[in-house]
């Protein structure tokens, strides 16, 4: 705890997932000195070892215009079209990068990449996808990580960075501690890339991972967040008696025609809606939030809740295995080891579906945040507002944003002088970081986590009252987080994770309160219409006077090609979409 390790570098990359690696590689290519810091073990932690199973690719010969149009529609016009235009072209290059770095995709008999075609919102356009082989495995990221080390990036494992250092409003490094020995680390850098993963409401299973540590670091130095309202923490998956275990979502698809949605009376409530009907032969039902969750919300409102999603069907296990084969080894193993059986797969439908948060630190198409010297990529960033919904499955969007952030951070870094760190700032941050260890009587991190999850239930169904309750609740918990106590360094990690978790949760509540309409996964009970007349706006969340505030900003549609045709949309009545 008393020892200090100081590391000086050009570019500091926080996080060693797919985004961290791509940012580090690009920055190194430009000639910058790069240090990559990982809180767990690089190659084995992060979202990229989890459920991702496909990347969307647009090949040079594909219909680019259709891909662009379909993607913008899928993002419900929220995405930064300047970014998307360039990003779609880049998908092919990033796929080649992934292959060169050693990642593997499913191939056909002749050894070429096997393409899977996904239906989209455009009736005549199908999107090209490549599947990882195997899925949900650390093997890809481990190989990419080895390349990162080979190319001269210094990697620090088991070091948790807690706060960014600022000099005259510019980010110039970060401080943290060794999660095992507790040594204090000071990283001086000319530019920082935050690629510390997303925020998924307490993470996978029991462990407190994906608590939005990177996003919280950004909040504290005054960075703007965007798109936080799109996507919610996965309360359904975390509460022991509700929702599907996280890995189930990888292999079970709510769009599968065999899956049924029932209310508390056992009725198939989707039958009332034109677009929700299960018609044999019909393949595309749209993303679940579009109709299913709206309908479920209506059922709950009218007293027929809770609603369930029922994955049970004869021979389901055999058919799933036939489709997935052996290639999602981890999920299959998890199912085997945990004793999950397919005949019990009926889960309460949580209106909050998002295990994949839409927002994060606001970045420009070049990967720069609103704070000089701070760059962001991957799930920590907003991916130019919800771009990960579409170009994606996270991985592709992470690779694209990271390469841009890494490159621009390196160029910025090389133009900057040696940073002069304020010693007083470091001292005070050090005191704050180790403070939970000095408290004998305080709240334990796990205890606080349960409280946060319980507060999250208010965000599950969103209306003014419930969101205000949640916002006030998170504010109270923030005070409680100042009184966290830790017995060892492992507990200290969890304490800082809980603080970050509260910051991000509050940012979601603030953004959700600000957006008074329904769009994407942001479903408001009191404003159930998608309002393209008044709400073609981004909600920006930032710290103003110590409090998180939601600000509105018009989306610059003037210079973009695609604009919504209809003005006000009621998802439940639509059979075409327009009810102006």
């Amino acid at each position: 705890m008393d020892s200090l390790t100081t590391v000086a570098t050009d570019v500091l990359v926080i996080g060693s997932g797919i985004a961290g690696c791509f940012a580090a590689l690009k920055a190194r290519e430009i000639g910058a000195d790069v240090v990559m810091v990982e809180q767990g073990k690089s190659g084995f932690s992060g979202m990229s070892t989890g459920g991702t199973h496909r990347v969307r690719v647009v090949l040079p010969d594909d219909d680019f215009e259709e891909a662009m149009k379909g993607t913008v529609m899928e993002c419900e016009y929220m995405v930064d079209q300047d970014f998307l235009q360039e990003a779609l072209v880049e998908t092919f290059d990033r796929l080649r990068d992934l292959l060169n770095l050693g990642a593997e995709f499913r191939r056909d008999e002749s050894g070429n990449i096997k393409w899977y075609w996904a239906d989209t919102m455009l009736p005549d356009f199908k999107q090209r996808n490549a599947m990882w082989e195997p899925v949900g495995s650390y093997k890809h990221i481990l190989k990419i990580n080895k390349q990162v080390v080979r190319r001269g990036v210094k990697v620090f494992d088991r070091v948790m960075l807690v706060d960014l250092l600022t000099v005259n409003g510019e980010v110039k490094g970060a401080v943290g501690f060794d999660t095992r020995k507790g040594d204090f680390y000071l990283f001086k850098a000319r530019a920082v890339v935050v690629a510390a993963g997303g925020f998924s409401g307490g993470g996978v299973g029991n462990s407190p991972s994906l608590t939005g540590d990177g996003i919280a670091m950004g909040i504290r130095v005054g960075a703007e967040l965007r798109g936080m309202e799109f996507g919610k923490a996965e309360t359904g998956g975390m509460l022991p008696d509700r929702g599907a275990p996280p890995w189930v979502s990888v292999l079970l698809n709510p769009q599968d025609p065999e899956v049924t949605f029932t209310n508390a009376l056992g009725e198939d409530f989707l039958d009332q809606y034109e677009l929700g009907k299960r018609v044999p032969g019909r393949k595309y039902y749209g993303p679940p939030y579009r109709i299913h969750l709206m309908a479920a919300l209506k059922e709950i409102k009218e007293g027929r809740g809770p609603c369930y999603v029922d994955y049970r069907a004869p021979d389901k296990a055999a058919r799933l295995r036939q489709f997935w084969g052996s290639f999602f080894d981890r999920t299959l193993r998890q199912i085997k080891v945990t004793g999950t059986t397919f005949d019990k797969m009926k889960y309460e439908l949580a209106i909050s579906r998002g295990y994949n948060l839409g927002g994060g630190i606001r970045i420009t198409p070049q990967g720069q945040s609103s704070v000089p010297g701070l760059y962001s990529a991957g799930q920590s960033s907003d991916m130019c507002c919800v771009a990960q919904y579409c170009i994606v499955s996270g991985m592709m969007a992470s690779a694209i944003t990271a390469r841009r952030a890494g490159g621009n951070a390196a160029q910025y870094a090389l133009s900057q002088p040696e940073p002069r760190i304020d010693k007083e700032q470091v001292k005070s941050l050090k005191r704050q970081i180790y403070a939970p260890l000095n408290r004998k009587h305080g709240t334990a991190a796990d205890e606080l986590r349960m409280k946060i999850i319980k507060t999250w239930v208010n965000v599950d169904i969103r209306n003014e009252d419930r969101l205000t309750t949640a916002h006030l609740g998170f504010d109270e918990l923030r005070q409680e987080a100042d009184n966290l106590a830790a017995t060892d360094y492992h507990e200290l990690v969890k304490c800082h994770k809980m603080s970050a978790y509260i910051e991000c949760s509050d940012a979601v509540a603030v953004a959700a309160l600000a957006r008074r309409e329904t769009r994407l996964e942001h479903i408001r009970e009191d404003y159930p219409l998608t309002d393209n007349k008044n709400w073609l706006k981004w909600v920006i969340v930032k710290q103003v006077g110590g409090k998180l505030t939601g600000l509105l900003e018009d989306i610059p549609f003037g210079r973009w090609k695609y604009r919504p045709e209809s003005r006000i949309i009621d998802r439940l009545q639509l059979a075409g979409g327009n009810c102006d």
Binding site: K41, F44, S45, T49, N206, S207, Q334, V337, H490
Partner: protein, 87 residues
């Protein structure tokens, strides 16, 4: 959730402790012990990397020891074991 590391099978190579993403396992003298069982995220990487099949999750041992398939893993485990015993 991780249940135990079989003391008889474990050769104390430390591979599991090295890779655990949530930092659950620790090497304590000549033994691997589960320091923070509640934080296990059931990713099962320890189970995959263990050359001796000593890690037990949810009371189940999912596969049999097959030295032919995992020779590289065992070699690495044994070399690490030698290194560890020097210290």
């Amino acid at each position: 959730m991780i249940e135990k590391v079989d003391e008889i099978l474990c050769i104390n190579c430390g591979l599991c402790e090295n890779i655990c993403p949530t930092d659950v396992l620790r090497r304590d003298g000549k033994k691997i012990h589960i320091a923070y069982p509640d934080d296990c995220c059931s990713c099962m990487e320890c189970l995959s990397i263990c050359p001796m099949d000593a890690v037990i999750l949810n009371g189940k041992i999912p596969r049999k020891f097959d030295s032919r398939l995992r020779w590289e893993q065992i070699k690495e485990g044994l070399s690490r074991q030698r290194e560890n015993s020097k210290i």
